[in-house]
């Protein structure tokens, strides 16, 4: 049994220590926001935040996560009460197929937590590892800028 701290809650997980975090999130904890894209750490659809840093959960085994704080998109808000990052993506209608969007939001969240005044250049550079095949990049950038604004207004 492995203890896993996700979105502030401690779960006891019965899985092999080599299991990728993504599988545990989706299959054991039923937290389905993080997506399986490439399974190789190349597309970013599975991005979650671990101790403040964006991490590809598909290539991060449980054995590397002892004592660490994991945040998934579910940890940023709810359907009824979306957090600023989620609010901004809804307002800007930044998704087309939407498969990459949870990863985009998590990486952007990590950036804005570290640097609330990130410039456009900072945002573009930081989001570079996350791929979107639909091509909604301009809306995604607008949504991240709006999220930064909402976070500042919210205090």
């Amino acid at each position: 049994m492995t203890a896993l701290k996700v979105n502030g809650r401690v779960y006891s997980v019965d899985a092999d220590p080599e299991t990728p975090l993504l599988y545990v999130l989706r299959e054991d904890l039923k937290l389905n926001a993080a997506k399986f894209g490439c399974g190789l750490g190349q597309c970013g659809a599975c991005t979650v935040i671990v101790d403040g840093e964006p991490v590809f959960s598909c290539i991060t085994p449980l054995l590397l996560l002892q004592g660490k704080e994991i945040t998934t998109l579910e940890g940023l808000g709810t359907l009824e009460k979306p957090g600023p990052m989620q609010r901004a993506f809804i307002d800007e209608q930044a998704a087309q197929c939407g498969y990459c969007i949870p990863g985009m939001m998590m990486r952007a969240q990590a950036l804005l937590q570290k640097n609330p005044h990130a410039t456009d250049a900072n945002i573009r550079e930081y989001l570079e590892p996350n791929l979107c095949r639909c091509g909604t990049h301009i809306r995604i950038l607008r949504a991240v800028r709006r999220a930064a604004q909402l976070m500042q207004e919210g205090g």
Partner: protein, 380 residues
């Protein structure tokens, strides 16, 4: 270009590699000049020289040149064919491979008696390109040519760090010239250790008298990379690169230093590991690296078979640390294999145990003694 002197007559620091450019022909220098003069002018502020005193006193460079700089054009070696000579001219002159791949003494001069023995560049290690090369699979000319033009080779891996910029440039160089450089470098790898080609300019009797002072300077240099290399490194048992790149399932010739065809599965490796560090490393490898590196897919779709990797088998841990922590970027112009970095997920002890496992499992060598300092040097 030839004398290391600027228009005002001031000596230049050898950071500008005039010690290599001095070999260029008149025609090539003319051609370079003609090309530069077609570039649109830009206004650019030359950054301030922040070399500390007393090195900031330029006239000292006259002494440096007297000791280490041998001006003169390239002289063809009549014992070698035209392709080798073309390769030597390019590699030693304009491409200045030795500026990174030859170790330097305490005064920043390349050690002529350790030509291509491995050096450093911008915080990366530049592997040895002479008979001390630790490449698990001996390079042949076609593999080297492909690597230089492509930036990667399925049986050797991906150019990274400052070498990535070199292969990006080489992609635009005439095929015959890339072939010549490949011929020259591969000949160097199978040649005598530390021998500098006779044909290079400035090979004079004065060298004998200089060598004694160089030897004492060399001893001042801290930990030359060559010290970590076993002089008895066997190159003979390594099978020559086949036209068909070997895969994990391809059986290497008996007695080769490659992995056995049947690599134990990761879980078997865990069970077999006697110490915890190694078994941590095996588990991390299986879970974080195996998805690509055990995928049985050749580059650029899968990860390179690590039993072929010079980063794992090489003389210095620096590049392996860089690649594991920072990955290989996907941002270069030509399509390239890429790799995600693990800086945010691996702790230092986890990285050490992973590297110990890789080194043992794929190179059958002990962990580098300076692994932990290489990790501390990484900017992440």
């Amino acid at each position: 270009m030839r004398e290391g002197v600027d228009r005002e007559g001031r000596h230049l620091y050898p950071a500008f590699p005039y010690d290599h450019f001095t070999l260029l022909t008149d025609a090539d220098i003319d051609a370079l000049y003609a090309f530069f003069m077609t570039r649109p002018p830009v206004r650019a502020q030359t950054s301030r020289n922040d070399v500390p005193f007393p090195l900031s006193f330029r006239p000292l460079l006259a002494g440096w040149k007297l000791l280490f700089f041998r001006p003169g054009r390239y002289h063809a070696d009549a014992q070698r064919d035209a392709v080798w000579n073309r390769g030597a001219y390019l590699a030693e002159g304009i491409a200045h491979c030795g500026a990174c791949h030859t170790p330097r003494n305490a005064f920043g001069a390349e050690k002529p008696n350790q030509h291509f023995a491995g050096g450093s560049a911008e915080g990366w290690h530049a592997y040895s390109l002479n008979s001390m090369s630790q490449a698990p699979l001996a390079w042949d000319v076609s593999a080297m040519e492909l690597y230089l033009r492509n930036g990667w080779h399925a049986s050797h891996g991906v150019a990274h760090g400052p070498m990535a910029a070199v292969t990006d440039n080489m992609a635009g160089v005439t095929a015959s010239d890339v072939r010549a450089v490949a011929e020259y470098v591969v000949a160097s790898m199978s040649g005598t250790k530390g021998a500098r080609p006779n044909s290079l300019a400035g090979k004079t009797d004065a060298e004998g008298t200089r060598r004694s002072s160089r030897a004492s300077m060399a001893s001042l240099a801290t930990a030359p990379p060559a010290a970590a290399i076993s002089p008895t490194h066997p190159t003979a048992p390594v099978p020559p690169a086949a036209a068909d790149p070997p895969t994990r399932s391809g059986a290497p010739t008996p007695g080769s230093s490659l992995q056995p065809a049947t690599t134990p599965s990761a879980s078997a490796a865990v069970a077999a590991a006697s110490d915890d560090k190694r078994s941590d490393g095996a588990a991390i490898y299986a879970a974080a690296c195996g998805g690509c590196h055990e995928s049985h897919q050749p580059l650029p779709f899968g990860g390179v078979d690590l039993s072929l990797s010079t980063d794992v088998a090489g003389e210095d841990p620096t590049n392996l640390v860089h690649v594991v922590l920072d990955g290989l970027p996907a941002t270069r112009e030509a399509p390239q294999p890429m790799m995600p970095g693990f800086a945010t997920t691996f702790s230092d002890p986890q990285l050490v145990s992973l590297m110990a496992y890789l080194r043992d499992q794929f190179a059958h060598k002990p962990l580098w003694p300076d692994t932990e300092s290489a990790i501390r040097r990484n900017p992440q």
